[in-house]
Symmetry: C3
Subunit: 337 residues, 3 copies
Amino acid sequence: MVTFKGQHILEVGQFDRDQLECVLSTADKMIPFAKRELKTRVLEGAILNNLFFEPSTRTRISFGSAFNLLGGQVRETTGLKSSSLAKGESIDDSAKVISGYSDIIVMRHPMSGSVSDFAKASRVPVINGGDGTNEHPSQALLDLYTMSKELKRFNRTLDNVKVAMVGDLANGRTVHSLSRLLALYKKIEFTFISPKELSMPINIIEFLIEKGHDVIETQSMEKGIKNVDIIYQTRIQEERFANQELANKFRGAYRINQFFYSQFCQPTTVIMHPLPRDSREEANELDVDLDKNPNLAIFRQADNGVLVRMALFALVLGVENQIEKDAKAVNWFVGKR
Amino acid sequence: MVTFKGQHILEVGQFDRDQLECVLSTADKMIPFAKRELKTRVLEGAILNNLFFEPSTRTRISFGSAFNLLGGQVRETTGLKSSSLAKGESIDDSAKVISGYSDIIVMRHPMSGSVSDFAKASRVPVINGGDGTNEHPSQALLDLYTMSKELKRFNRTLDNVKVAMVGDLANGRTVHSLSRLLALYKKIEFTFISPKELSMPINIIEFLIEKGHDVIETQSMEKGIKNVDIIYQTRIQEERFANQELANKFRGAYRINQFFYSQFCQPTTVIMHPLPRDSREEANELDVDLDKNPNLAIFRQADNGVLVRMALFALVLGVENQIEKDAKAVNWFVGKR
Amino acid sequence: MVTFKGQHILEVGQFDRDQLECVLSTADKMIPFAKRELKTRVLEGAILNNLFFEPSTRTRISFGSAFNLLGGQVRETTGLKSSSLAKGESIDDSAKVISGYSDIIVMRHPMSGSVSDFAKASRVPVINGGDGTNEHPSQALLDLYTMSKELKRFNRTLDNVKVAMVGDLANGRTVHSLSRLLALYKKIEFTFISPKELSMPINIIEFLIEKGHDVIETQSMEKGIKNVDIIYQTRIQEERFANQELANKFRGAYRINQFFYSQFCQPTTVIMHPLPRDSREEANELDVDLDKNPNLAIFRQADNGVLVRMALFALVLGVENQIEKDAKAVNWFVGKR
C-alpha cells in the first residue's frame, strides 16, 4: 500500500504513478472540506512552520490555509534578511532548531538545493515550496490534478492526452516538473511552443522521448495549439532574465485571447496557467476576455492548490484515513464555491 | 429583519439606521467574550485572510484578535512589495485566487477604491480595513459605538448629541465617515474646529445640513468645544500633507490638556481620538495629563474596536445567534479589563 | 506556594530559588506535549500577541510554537518601521491599546528598558523577549534548565557546578543573565574566558563573589576549560561592536573543535551555546565536527526553549495544574524527538 508517512516532499522525481494516483485521490477527499461543506479537526494541535525565505503570497497562503482547514496551527516566517541564516548559521543548524518547533515544515528559498539540505537535517517532514529554479513539487502536483479533473469533464484520463506548453520553457520550473510527472502516464503528446531562445531543455525532451512520448517543438502558436486537449500557458518570469530588454522582447508574444481561441483551438481545449498572470496593458499572456470561457481553468487550478496541499499534509502526517471521522457541518455562511 | 449574511462591508454609506443599531447591539453581545469572561468556538475552522497591503499595526491586530476570539484562524499578509499585485496581477485575479483560500477577507490598501474592486471579484465577504483616503468603515462604526456607550453613562442617546470634531478635517478619513454615520441620527449639532486650510469638505457640510443637522464651523478651540457632549480629536496625519512645513505649522495647534479641559469643557464632555496619538514633545494632540480624566475615552474606544469587529465578523458570517450556544468560562488568569 | 499568576517576566533578578525550581519543574511537565506524545487544549481561545520589534526568528517561533502547543492562538507583529511607535505613539499608549487585544504579550525591542515600560501600562502579563543589551530572561531560564538536565545525566545538580563562559563576556546579555541565575545556587565555580577587551563586567564579578561563589578570569582557553563541567560558548555578536575591525579580530579566537575537546576537556564536559552559531569558514565558534559528540547540548538546549516558554505561559496564565486534565494522545505521525 502506498504511504507517505514521515516522508519529505522535495521533487517530482520521487513519485511513481501509484503515488501520484494516491495524491490525486486523497485530494478528491478534501473537496467537501475546502468547499466548506464540512470541517475537520484532524490536525488539531499540530504545528506547520511555513518558512518563506523568498516571497510568494499565494503559495504561502495556500499552504497555510490548507493546514488550517485540517485543524492545525501555522507559524510563519517571511523574508531572508531577518533570519538566522543571515547571521552565518548553517542550513543544517537552522533545520535542527526549527524542526524542534514543528510537526511539519514548508520551506521556500531562492537557492537551488537548499530545501533538500534543510530536509536532511530536519527531524520532521519538509515540503519543498520552491527552491530557486530547481523544484516546486506541489505546483506540479496541483497542475497534474487539475489536468486530470478537467479531462474528467470530457470522460478522458491523463493517458493519451495532448498537451501544449507555452512561453518561457527554458527557465520555467513549472513546465519542467509537470512534464516529468506527465511522463509517468501513457503516450502523452507534448507540444512545446516558445521562441528558440527559450526552448525546453534538451535533457527533458530526451527524457520524454525515451519514455515513449511524442514531442513536437514549434515557434508557431497557431500550429502548436491546433489539436491539443490542454494549453499550459506560462508567464514571462522577468526576474529570471539577464536583462529587461530580453524580458520585454518576449512579453506578450504568445498571448491568447477569446478571438484567438475561437479561431485556432478545439472547442474543448482547456487553458491553464500557474498564475499570477500579468494583466498590464500589452503584457497579457491570457486576456481577461477569456474569463467567461468555461474552459479557462486557471482559477479552478488555484483552488485545486488547496486540495493538493491538504492531501500532502494529510498523507505525510499519516492522517488521511482519519479526516472524515469527526467531520462536522460548517455552521457559518458559505458563498458560491 | 436586518441581516448582513454574505455582505461586503465597504463604506459607511451602505448602512441605514436599523443596520447600525444591529451592529451596535451585536457588539454589546461580544462584551463577555472580549473581556475574557466567556470563550466561544463558533467560528472554529473558519479562515480570515487579513490582507494589509498598507501597514497599520493596531487595525491589523484588532481584526485578527477579534476573529481569534470567535474561534477562527487567521492567515496574514503584510506589505505590498512581496505581493502578486507587484508582478502585474490584476486586483480581479488576486481576489478570485485569495477568496478560494478564505471564508472572509479583511483588506487594507493604499489606493482608494481598490477594496471595492477586490470585493467585486471575491467569492467570499470582504471587509474594508481602509483604502487610502477613501473609507475605513470599521473605524467609523467603533467610533459610533463608543459615542453611544459613553453617552449611555449619562443616560443619553446619540439623538440630539453635540459633537465637536477637531484637527485636520480636510484630510481626515475618520471624521468624514463618522459624520456620515451620525447623520442617520436625529438633530445632531456638529462643530467643526480646524484651521481654514484644513476645514471639512463642503459636500459633507451640505449633506449634513440637508439631513436637518446643525453645523458650526470655527477656528477657535475655546469657543468650539464650550458646550459639546463629545470632542473627537484627530491627529495631524503628516503623511497626507504635501510638505513638512505645512505639517509642522499645525502640529499641536489644537492640543488639549487637563488645564484646558477644566477651564473650557463641560464636566461630562467625552474626549475621543482614533489613535495613535503623537506623544512627542510639543506635538501632543491630547496631553498625557488627561489620562486620569474619566471622560477620556480613547482607550475604551480602542477596546471597542474588538467588539465592533467581532460583531461584523459574526453578522457577515451569519453566526450572531450561535455565539452563546457553546460558550464556556475562560479558564486562565484574566487581569483587569 | 510559588505562583506566577498575572506576573510579568521581565528580568532574571525577579526570581528567587524557589521560583526557579518551580519554572524548571513545570518545564519538565511539558515534555510529553513538546515531544508530541500528548496534546492539550488548555489555552484554547487565549491570544498571545508576539511583538518582535527587533527580528529574532528562532525566539519568535519558539514562543509562538510554545503557545500553540498549549492550544492558544498567536497574533504576530515583526519590524519596527510599520508600528505605531514610529508615528510618535508613546510606549504607554501602545501597551494600553495592544493589551486590549491580548491575554498575554511577548515583546522584543532594541531599546533597553522598553519592555518594562510597556509592561507598566499593560493590562495583561508581559514576557520580555529581549530588550537590547539589557535582559532576555527566557533565554537565561532555558540555559539554566539545560544545565540542570545535562548534569542530571551524571547524577549531578546545579549546586557546586563548575562553569566556563567563553567569548564576548562584556557585551553578552545571555552570560550576564545566566550568571545571575546561577548565583542563586550553592558554591558555583565561574571561569570567565575572554580577551581583556571583552571581559565580564566588574559589577557582575563582584556580585558573584559577594554571594560566595568562586570566580576565575583567564584569557587562555586551554587553562580555563580544563576542569569544568559545562562550557557556555557564545558567538561574537558582531552587531554589538563599534566597528567591523574589532569584530573580525576576535572572530573564531575561542573556537572549539573535536580535537581540542579530546585534548583539553573532561570526557563529560557539556558544551552549550545560545545559537545561532556562525558556521562560515574561519568563523566557527563551535566546529561542526562536534555535532556527533554526545555532550554537545546545543540542539537539546534549543528544544528546551519550547519547554521553558510553555512553562512560563502556563504559570503566568495560572493553568499549570490544568494541563494534563484533558490531554489526548497525538494522532499524527511523529518522528524522532
